[in-house]
Subunit: 150 residues, 2 copies
DNA sequence: GCATTATACTTGCATATGAAAATACTTTAC
DNA sequence: GTAAAGTATTTTCATATGCAAGTATAATGC
């Protein structure tokens, strides 16, 4: 029998939909930010110099540039992120974390870790978790702006 | 060092977003149906008796019942799925595949398998693919309406 | 049996999203 | 140096989605 390629793909999509459904609600209820907001801020934090252009963010989040604009606007308005110009290229406007944003992100990460553990530990052993993280790491290793942490 | 639970979660979400972005376009371009349409029809096909109520579909797809209604309506209109009543419960209306729908699904599955292979094979070995499928299987094993295939 | 509660959808409304156009700036070609 | 092409971002528009309300039917309590 030959390998079935669709199965891991379909399972990934399903797991993602399930996780998204559960975690988004909890996260925004506790911290007032969505899962997307959180991932955006995580990418900014982990980027070299802790700043990212909107285009780079779009690639990392796998969403359109318009979505980045519409995600960052309210975060900027409530003071969690800021805007930084580039000296050489006036088209660029980097997203950076404000002190408030960095502080909130720290707390949000804790909640996310808690929620993730609650979801994962009943199903997988420590060893399996490590395996899964490694395999998904390989799968996403060539994604734009990949960093080991996420 | 303690286990990091967020990483596999974030990687799953990212892989899903990436896959979704790539596969949805190709799939609808070739067969005229979206990835969601395809997953819906797959769940129907694999369900006992090859029929599913809309509520059961919502659970399997991890979406709201309204989304199921709005996904099935056009599929019904173009003759890919049908509607079947329940003898004992007049509230239920099962989704079933029409012969046309079943035929289209067979072709769509082939394309999906091809696209999945193109995405996976450059990154993981056969052995790793099997491992990944197994781990994701454990992760999604207690999802409503789980079946081994997806 | 009748009223209350629960379930299976469907629809109205507000929000979220991508594609493409619009805008502003930069790079390349010559 | 100027025109053409390319890039970063925002905005417009059409579509997609969840929540909550609406409708119809079934199950439960008494």
């Amino acid at each position: 029998m030959t390998t079935n390629y669709s199965t891991p793909i379909l399972r990934t999509l399903r797991a993602s939909a399930f996780i998204d459904e559960r975690i988004t609600g909890a996260l925004s209820a506790v911290h007032g930010v969505s899962l997307r907001d959180t991932m955006l801020m995580l990418y900014v934090k982990n980027a070299p110099g802790s700043k990212l252009s909107r285009i780079e963010l779009a690639k990392r989040l796998c969403v359109s540039p318009s979505t980045v604009t519409r995600t960052t606007n309210p975060l900027e308005k409530i003071g969690l992120i800021g805007r930084e110009a580039d000296n050489r290229d006036a088209r660029l406007s980097y997203v950076v974390l404000t002190p408030t944003g960095a502080k909130l992100l720290k707390n949000t990460e804790k909640t996310l870790e808690q929620l993730s553990g609650d979801f994962l530990t009943p199903k997988l052993t420590e060893k399996e978790l490590l395996q899964l993280a490694q395999l998904l790491g390989k799968l996403t290793s060539d994604f734009p702006g990949n960093n080991t942490q996420a």
